[in-house]
Amino acid sequence: MLHTVNKSPFQNTTLESCIRFARSGDVILLIEDGVLAAQAGNVKKNLLEEALQKCEVFALGADLKARALTDLVPGVKITDYSGFVDLVEQHTTHSWL
């Protein structure tokens, strides 16, 4: 499964829920405001650290760049729209809206 998350973890528990339902080997892609979770040293960084134990975690580069996020939670990989398409090709997708 590919899980997309587009909500800030500081406002909303969507990322937490996504991680609760994500299974080992799933992929989580942070897009839009969801990329805010990837900022290094943030108070909610334990969420992604937990997710990284069982899943690959990507953040959409264009959304990171727009928000000036350069220093990321270790382990989070950056992808682009083309990479997003590849992830969709590989997995059934659930959008955690």
Partner: protein
């Protein structure tokens, strides 16, 4: 692979429409078939010809219309559109109004359906 995309949010107000557009562009470049694009909820506002954004910004409805002109089936949900005052007369060219059956067919026939919303 056959992909379909469903968009729930209106233009400019939310990034969903932009993310969907960039995703679709990337998918086309990679040679995937776009089975259809379906606008639902406030997403129906994406394709009105009445929008006139500042010239130095993207023109969202023209952008969708151009994708429609390239042969991609772009469908606006009739129930969501009628509720919000969106009728055939105000649509950009190359998009059509139809029913939720179209979304159903996309969900069934596309290998992947990706939803962009809030």
């Amino acid at each position: 692979m056959k992909l379909a995309v469903c968009i729930y949010e209106g233009p400019y107000n939310h990034e969903a429409s932009d993310t969907a557009y960039h995703f679709i562009q990337a998918a086309i470049q990679k040679g995937h078939e776009i089975k259809g694009i379906f606008f639902y909820h406030d997403g129906v506002y994406n394709v009105t010809r009445l929008m006139e954004p500042p010239q130095d910004d993207r023109h969202i409805s023209n952008r969708w219309s151009a994708l429609g002109a390239s042969g991609i089936d772009i469908v606006v949900c009739i129930a969501a559109a009628k509720r919000r005052g969106i009728v055939d007369d105000v649509l950009v060219p190359n998009v059509r109004i139809s029913g939720l059956g179209q979304l159903t067919m996309m969900a069934i026939e596309a290998d992947r359906l990706v939803v962009f919303g809030d």
